[in-house]
Symmetry: C2
Subunit: 516 residues, 2 copies
């Protein structure tokens, strides 16, 4: 008779992590990850799991399987846990190749050079923060007073405009135009007469239209300064044509991953992996660089070099590879040539960030910007303001956050050259840069030897293929789930933990059955 348990185990053996996870969830054997703590049941009976990488995925696999009685060992090349969930603080030494940077921010100042924010729907990430009692706070995603600054040919080029101006004006014109079409009965097929009046009323509110259904500016965009001589408020909206030509409207369309409420870890993202690592600290070996991984029918052996270069061999029943694919590709393994080629084929993004410490928070004091980000078509792309420590004296802002391949040309420069660029371009938005700058620290993820990039770029088919077990080896990481987000790392880890648990249970049962 095929029991539920056997069904899951067979699915796990055949279909790999993702399918087993979905099957268990669907069958009610595992409560939905979005509602409650992850609750695998059963006993790992000391089955040994070698885990490569103490990033969020590797830590989570060790933490979850450890709860069940598996004997997990995590091997991490760095001296710290967390991978790209990292925070730069005073004394942090750069991990990049090239000139060494040592962070000289003031005590208490920091920026998150990798993962920095969590939307409300990343429920797995939030569940771990809750379970590990890591405090979170609001990440102020939207600051209507932040700037847009375009430099390319357009009527609005080389001029600071505020987000609120762009948003209110675009929405106002759209409402005005649609009001016009509706009231002149040019959309009769599309809008019933019953809806017409209500639509016009909605548009009047949404676009702050006047009694003639014209958009002439609104308090939402901000009044002109200085006020008119009689003290009344005046508005000078940007022209629709100029707004469209500047393409700044595109910056308003942030997408689902950037939906509010967003939160962040109080005191820095690294407190989340640190809390995980604290739960399994006797299981992590730092400065352990994996060199080889070989499989037999019964187990996996991993060879790693310790700090002094001495090699050690570790035996386990299963191995979880929670390291970036370029590092996995460099490992000596007995994967098939096809698999090796596919692993090596995945390009990684060269994103990077620059933290700039200033003597005072001029963006708050002078510009009235609290959190949020200014956007530009200059190379720096955006300036992200801190969402905490408001009104205090000093602050660190993210002077650029380059995404995708845009980080490569800047990241390939020296830290000093990057800093010069961030200061020069940033000063066009904030002239206060010049007087207030103190010290900088930048990270170019593609140059960090133990990351080799910020996130992967992989098609769905390859992702699916690499989510299957490679013999007794399971890959884990955000690259196999929700790419570039902590949520992906946690979810991938849960899927792998589920699959390993199901398979190990099945294998222990059959070993007993044949008297092994």
């Amino acid at each position: 008779m095929l029991t539920r348990r056997h069904f899951i185990e067979r699915i796990a053996a055949i279909g790999g992590a993702s399918l087993a996870y979905e099957a268990m969830t669907g069958l009610g054997m595992l409560e939905a990850a979005t509602q409650t703590p992850f609750a695998l049941r059963g006993d790992g009976k000391g089955t040994r799991i070698a885990i490569l990488g103490a990033g969020l995925s590797g830590l989570t696999v060790a933490y979850e399987l450890g709860k069940l009685g598996y004997k997990c060992q995590v091997f991490e090349a760095r001296q710290r846990p967390g991978g790209r969930a990292h925070t730069i603080r005073r004394g942090t030494v750069s991990e990049e190749d090239g000139p060494t940077q040592t962070c000289s921010f003031d005590e208490g100042q920091y920026f998150n050079c990798g993962a920095m924010r969590v939307p409300y729907h990343h429920t797995t990430t939030l569940q771990y923060a809750r379970e590990l009692q890591v405090p979170i706070e609001t990440f102020a995603l939207t600051a209507e007073n932040a700037y847009f600054y375009q430099t390319k040919a357009s009527a609005l080029a080389n001029r600071r405009v505020r987000l609120r101006e762009v948003r209110a004006d675009l929405e106002g014109y759209v409402a005005e135009l649609l009001s016009k079409a509706v009231s002149e009965e040019k959309l009769n097929e599309a809008v019933t007469s019953a809806d017409r009046e209500q639509l016009l009323e909605y548009l009047r509110g949404a676009g702050a239209l006047d009694d003639e259904r014209r958009y002439r500016g609104s308090p939402l965009r901000g009044a002109d300064e200085p006020r008119s001589p009689d003290g009344s408020l005046r508005y000078t909206p940007l022209a629709l044509s100029d707004l469209l030509g500047s393409r700044m409207g595109g910056y308003l369309d942030l997408g689902f991953q950037y939906q509010e409420t967003m939160v962040q870890v109080v005191g820095g993202t690294d407190r989340l992996p640190q809390a995980l690592a604290a739960r399994i600290k006797d299981k992590i070996t730092y400065q352990a660089v994996a060199k080889e991984m070989h499989q037999s029918e019964r187990g996996v052996s991993v060879v790693y070099a310790d700090r002094s270069g001495k090699l050690h061999k570790v035996e386990a029943e299963y191995c979880v590879c929670a390291i970036p694919l370029p590092l996995l590709a460099a490992l000596e393994t007995d994967f098939s040539p096809e698999i090796k080629q596919r692993i090596a084929s995945v390009p990684y993004s060269a994103a990077g960030k620059m933290g700039l410490q200033f003597k005072r928070r001029f963006w708050e004091e002078d510009d009235h910007i609290y959190g949020g980000a200014s956007k530009t078509d200059m190379e720096i792309s955006q300036i992200v303001y801190p969402s905490s420590g408001y009104l205090t004296q000093k602050g660190v802002l993210v002077g650029y956050y380059l995404q995708g391949q845009n980080g490569r040309p800047i990241g390939d420069r020296t830290p000093a050259e990057r800093q010069a660029l961030a200061l020069e371009q940033g000063a066009r938005i904030h002239p206060q840069y010049q007087a207030e700058f103190e010290t900088a620290f930048s990270v170019a993820w593609h140059r960090v030897p133990w990351s080799k990039g910020a996130w992967s770029n992989m098609g769905a088919a390859l992702r699916k293929e690499l989510s299957q077990p490679l013999g007794r080896v399971y890959l884990a990481g955000d690259h196999l789930n929700m790419n570039a987000w902590m949520q992906g790392a946690f979810e991938s880890a849960r899927q792998v933990a589920t699959a390993v648990h199901a398979r190990a249970g099945a294998e222990r049962s059959s070993a007993v059955a044949v008297g092994l």
Copy 2:
């Protein structure tokens, strides 16, 4: 020769606080309040100022004039400073008439029963927080996952929908309709052909339109649950007609005072007035109830009753009345009958709030709502979720926040009746109320003897009139500036401090000139 100084003094004597403030700012004698700390210059030379009320306005006048050497005395009827900038915590005793409530929240749980948030453009409020080193944090205004719940006849009645659904769907349909009008060239006069393609491109992004320029749902609204059998995402937008009929679009139009970034005082709003009071603590007399105020050509005398009912008479050169108008109307004064009538004529709003403590933060755990507010057409009007303490066990949410006169019918009930109503209606949005509720505390501002309402409702002409000095008496408070906001209280206080300082200087000069 008319010096600058004399000019200001004459303006102050003639035009009152507001005009003097603007003149000094305009002439560069006072730096703009939005940029730097308030910096009146000169010496108050011990001129005595009697200040009625230790709300934000009264405290600020005493603080600012005290810096200059004025001898300020503040008389406050309550045992605490802050007026409506108040926070309910364990042990707080209600100030209302009727049955006494004593707050039994857990230690550390609180809600702000009055002022609770500060938009980024309330720069004077923020400046005081900075100057007084009162920490602030983000107030999460927008939680896209909060609910709309309408009960009135509409296709969407008695159904929970999420803010993100309403917003994305309305914006999607608007973009689709305007796309249609533009692409079918029905708005030729209004949109040039040069703009047409760029407008269509903008609308495609803003409305998440598909390749046929149709709105069929988008990730921004959220995908249907459960997913389709093949795991793909499906969307079922609400019908445009239903959205318009429900009038929920009106809730999206929050206005300038609700623009992001919004912030709040860490730990409760009352820490702001407490910080002010700490700077002038020897100048405040609590439980001092003003009874009479009389003027001569040279000064003002105030009679107040102390805790035991014993009367005291205080002499001063000027008096600042920073108490609500209904309380001022009840004072024995020698104001003209017309002025008395006008002061007594101003209606005050009956706004109120209900704090509900729950065993667990089900709105975060189950509903994935962090901060923000759910809106409804039930009497409770809205549920405001806390913007701090995320992921902790217990929480206090605002179970209703009634604005304007809507607070009267509920506020007129007993606390127990109010609680029953908040729980019953709130449970229609959050069924978890029933199992998780612990304890409640409500405030009906119109029933608080030393407030007599939440905010005033006064026309511009009367406001202007009451902003003039009434002899040697100056009125101060949010009711004379930005009504119902802390910013109004601070700004009014600065205007009054400026006017009093200018006039006192002029009077001291002329007293010297005539040898007094």
